[in-house]
Amino acid sequence: MSGGLSGIPEPVTPEHDLLRGAAPRVRLSAGLRQQVLATAAVQYQLGRRQRLLTRAGVIATVVLCVAGAIWRLSQPAAPVPAAAKTPVVIPVVPRPVPSTPSATLPSTSSGGSDIMPAPQGKMPAVESIQTVPLLRPL
């Protein structure tokens, strides 16, 4: 009998003999063997099926992921349809509208030479609508 941590055989004392002699001899119940082996066989089949299912599940998941990635990468970049363009309102800072020659403004000069000329043509729009194409979704 190998003894302690050092592996040096432990001396066998009378107490050791007594202890060994006191080891009970077990007589197993009748039918225990058949019962245990039958249960073990069922459990083995269950375990085997579980392992197969687990492996199949993992393989299917990996295959689906790879297929999805390949399909996604193989798609050409589709042209963006015109309908996808959304009008975006860009505010335009209004230019000061010149009023009528201001007779009301106090004139610092003596002459009327600094009176602004009357605006010609149409007035500029206050704001304009410009269409900007949307970014293509990823």
């Binding site: 941590l5 009378p14 060994r20 002699g21 006191a22 077990v26 119940s29 225990l32 082996l37 066989a41």
Partner: protein, 181 residues
Amino acid sequence: MDGDFQLQVRHCAQRLSQSPEAALAELFDLTAERLVRYAMSVTSSQADAEDALQGAFSRIARRPQLLVAAKLPWSYMLRAVRNEALRLLQRSSSQKRLQVPTSAVQSTPEQQVLQQEVSESVRRILKSLPAEQSEVVTLKHWEDLTFAEIAEVLGISQNTVASRYRYAMEKLQRALEGLVR
């Protein structure tokens, strides 16, 4: 140290991956009595010990690769039975008394009776030790395990095993003085 027995267990365990049902049957024939004896030291009941054996075999059958890969298959089996026995103890606080049928010894009836009485006394003294100490002594003397293997079965360090064994043997030597001739 019964190295042959452990070697046989290892061979059976390795055959589990090729022919599981035959290997399980062989493993049962080889180990069942010893496993039940060990489980009885935990449960104090043969019925519970046999249930523990059945549970352990079911678990081994369900995942045989763990036993195949085990470094010490016999220790692994003892640990599996111990875990089942402890689970059973937790589930039902069984109060069944230990009833151990003893085998017929090749001796006179008087000697048999005397031997039986001595064995009963030793088992009683062993039972009187703290559970963790008697378990170490049981594994050491009944199952012939080394401290390293006991540490593997119980999931504790070798130093703890050695100190529990030393304390147990000190008590046992005092208690067994009268029986030693």
